[in-house]
């Protein structure tokens, strides 16, 4: 009987701490949960996951190369609500170039960029009194490919 109690205790603790360790770490959240673009796009190491609380806003400073097409996708726990994503110029004015609030908070978008520049991806989630003390994972997936126009120009013959 003692042996059985030992085994059940160990099983219980393994299960409990496994769940906790998963909860603490969001490192892979964007890989596992964000919607991916098609296979012509390549994964960028600028992708990242983070912990968010309701009402929080975070800024991801990224670099986009000239002549490349980018795909940005976000995902988070449903309790965080609609994720707002704004693409901004990285200057004093921080001019908004794209805001997913204008597109019913769509969780992905594409853009083409002509000249290499620094950009800001600002991600925010609404306040929520019910879950205000909880932390949730949020992922930002960034993919890229060479500008399609250039590719087409190079595709001569068959």
């Amino acid at each position: 009987m003692k042996y059985l109690i030992h085994i059940t205790s160990v099983l219980f603790f393994i299960s409990f701490f496994y769940e906790i360790s998963k909860a603490q770490n969001c490192a892979d959240y964007h890989v596992e949960n964000c919607r991916w673009a098609d296979r012509t796009y390549l994964y960028s190491r600028q992708s990242r996951s983070a912990l968010f609380t309701p009402g929080m806003k975070s800024v991801f400073n990224i670099i986009v190369y000239g002549g490349e097409e980018y795909y940005i996708s976000v995902s988070a726990h449903r309790k965080l609500g609609d994720i707002r994503v704004q693409l901004k110029e990285n200057n004093e004015k921080q001019t908004i170039l794209y805001d997913n609030a204008d597109f019913k908070y769509e969780d992905y978008f594409y853009f083409k960029n002509a000249i290499t520049k620094k950009m800001i991806v600002e991600v925010s989630v609404p306040e929520n009194e019910k879950y205000k003390d909880e932390k949730f994972c949020l992922g930002v997936l960034i993919e890229f490919r060479r500008n399609k126009v250039e590719e087409e120009d190079n595709q001569l013959g068959f």
């Binding site: 299960s15 909860a23 890989v31 960028s44 975070s58 400073n61 794209y98």
Partner: protein
Amino acid sequence: MYNKTFLSRKIWFSLFVTLLLINCCKPAKNNKEDTTSFIKNMDFPDSIQQRQLKNNYYQFPSAKEMFNYIKQEETLAFNPNLTNPVSHYPRYVDTKSKILNLGIYLADISYLTLYKEINKASEYLEVVHKLYKDLRIEVPFTDQFISRIKDNLNNEDSLVYISEQYSDEFYRYMYSNNKEHILATVSAGSYIEGLYIALNLVDEYKENSSVIQKIAEQKYTFENLYQNLNEFNDDSNIHLTLQYMEKILSVYNQLETKRKPVKTSKNEDNILVIDGGDEFFMSRSQFYELKSLINQLRKEIITKSF
């Protein structure tokens, strides 16, 4: 008889309670994120949470993304003498030089795989594996990766794919195990090596060279790398790398900038097109100043212990 039945009931009851406890802690399959609710009641003095719960992240492309970008337009011939020889590995005895040279070797692997120099790349992977061990970086499935590499030495495409997977595992491991301070220095080492290779692949300065233009654009990456490193400035191993970055940025900050207003439009596929921005111009003297500085810093990193 009575005792036996009683014991059996107790066993079943214990099993039932255990299963109940396990299931109550296990999220439903379709609701995997619910695990995060555990954090609410746990007061972890956990730096992973602190690092993941911040308002500003400085991101930058990998050295491989940078190589791919620079190599796009002009034909840059492969130069086998630009990588740090694997025979230098025994020189790196202290942590600082091991971390910086891990970054150097990782950039060398990216350069070698980009030019499909696979056999040479596999030698570099072995050194990287040794440095991982020295630095107690336990990338999962390392032995499997090494054996897959040995099994595929004649299959270039598979080797490129395997080395990319291995590199992804490394980054995943570093983020998941609160080793971002080490990753920041590794990335700085990789970028110094990447810039060293790019600058030395260019034989001579040409005013309208797109490669030189792309080297100039790396100013942004070094700015974000600096900000990223600066987050860990309480770590003594970071100080030297920060000084390197400051020296490199002092050259980059001299570049002339042409401003074109940023404009957005939609193309025929309804995709956002962003035009304009700051264009950098790198003069002949700035190009050679940067080349000389990077050559000197890189030499310092690969030849001595700190």
